[in-house]
């Protein structure tokens, strides 16, 4: 979707705010939200593409005025409610309780099996690479044009490189297609390519000299030139 998350080339957002000696987590809730993501996505309650899309559908004003981990909280809540794992009303009621008594502790529960599997997940990852029988449609050096599409759902084809000419720089393996996987339409794995775009092709007269941008794109985002 043409959402606010698709930020490449947006102007007027201001300077980069670099925090010196930044901690990994700024407070306990950032760590709790991060860990909750690992434990829920890690157990397959939703997938990475559903997670990302849940952030993209936030209202633009909310997206731009909320913190990174608030985005995560939004999408975890949304996904778990949609999957029927938690209920909106019970979540709201419990939130009210913690607002009234902020010092109240979270109930503790030991789950050594989950601890072991999450450690394994952190160390080994969860690749979305898939074997496919087809050969890649494009080769290194092929000239391609990105499609001029504006899907209402999730996509990883950024707006700033739509309907642009580029050259295939690298051919990667096939990966789960986010456009399908975010919407319960299966994995539909496709080859991914690193496509090189000259800055002038993307930004016209506003391009900086001697710049190229590489974007990783699934095969169905591209057409041959």
């Amino acid at each position: 979707m043409n959402g606010v998350h698709d930020l490449g080339g947006m102007q007027g957002l201001g300077g980069v705010d670099v925090e010196g000696n930044e901690p990994v987590f700024h407070n306990p809730w950032e760590k709790a939200i991060f860990g909750t993501m690992l434990a829920t996505m890690g157990q397959g309650m939703y997938n990475l593409d559903e997670f990302r899309h849940g952030i993209e559908v936030m209202s633009p004003a909310h997206y731009l005025t909320s913190s990174y981990y608030e985005h995560w909280l939004e999408t975890i809540e949304k996904n778990l409610i949609e999957k029927g794992i938690i209920d909106r009303d019970e979540l709201d009621a419990r939130t009210q309780e913690f607002l009234k008594d902020p010092a109240a502790p979270v109930p503790q529960r030991e789950d050594p099996e989950l601890a072991e599997s999450l450690s394994r997940l952190v160390r080994s990852g969860a690749s979305t690479r898939r074997e496919v029988s087809a050969k890649p449609q494009f080769e290194v050096g092929d000239r391609v044009r990105t499609r001029n599409v504006h899907p209402r759902g999730h996509t990883r084809l950024p707006q700033y490189v739509r309907d642009k000419q580029g050259v295939v720089e690298r051919v990667y393996d096939a990966f789960v297609l986010p456009d399908a996987n975010a919407h319960g339409e299966g994995e539909n794995p496709q080859y991914v390519y690193s496509v090189r775009f000259e800055a002038e092709e993307v930004w016209g007269d506003s391009a900086e000299p001697r710049e190229v941008v590489y974007v990783d794109l699934w095969e169905s985002y591209l057409e041959p030139l």
Binding site: H62, L91, R94, T95, L99, S119, F175
Partner: protein, 201 residues
């Protein structure tokens, strides 16, 4: 979900605790599992891991060749890998080329070598501008003046490949051990918004 925003920190904290509590009570998650897994990014997994990889590449030409050919395989030799770094690619800086990494759509970042990203990497300013005016962003926001004769390559991590910049080895580091070299490698130099430290500091 919040009906009004910006939400207060108190509200976010309450919602996070409510969510965690409900999942604990339903027997779906363990608080020990969450603390341990998240805690790994506060202790073991961070830029010091990437610094070791870079220092090895500076010291061992065979390793560097493998790193540039297949970074995941090279990192695996050092027992480095994992979530959000299942498929890593290293891109090399040189006198002619400067690489910089961004994720315009979210905040994709090579966790196994750099840990979790800093806020500025995740917030809209860096993500919007780096693909359009990288030279200006590097100079104005990070104090990194890339000579106009040097090509800038921007890598937008829009899929599941994660990019690591292999910075240039600083001059005056001949004869340094890998450990000494690793101490010069900064997080920012592996994102491409900075240079490694020099032996003089």
């Amino acid at each position: 979900m919040s009906d009004s925003y910006p939400a207060s920190e108190a509200e976010i904290s309450a919602r996070a605790k409510a969510l965690e509590s409900l999942l604990v009570e339903k027997g779906l998650i363990g608080t020990d599992a969450i603390d341990k897994a998240a805690g790994a990014y506060e202790s073991d997994i961070g830029p010091m891991v990437g610094a070791k990889v870079v220092a090895r590449a500076w010291s061992d030409p065979g390793f560097k060749e493998q790193l540039l050919e297949d970074a995941s395989a090279a990192c695996a030799r050092l027992d480095v890998g994992g979530m959000q770094g299942e498929h890593m690619v290293a891109v090399e800086n040189s006198e002619q080329v400067h690489n910089v990494v961004v994720c315009t759509l979210c905040s994709c970042y090579p966790w196994p070598v750099l840990g979790l990203p800093p806020n500025w990497y995740k917030y809209p300013q860096y993500r919007s501008r780096t693909v359009m005016e990288p030279r200006k962003v590097l100079k104005e926001e990070f104090g990194l003046d890339v000579d106009e004769s040097v090509d800038i390559r921007v890598w937008d991590s829009s899929a599941e490949i994660r990019y690591l910049v292999l910075p240039e080895r600083p001059e005056g580091t001949e004869g340094m051990s890998e450990e000494e070299l690793a101490s010069l490698v900064t997080r920012d130099s592996m994102i491409g918004v900075g240079k490694p430290r020099t032996p003089e500091g």
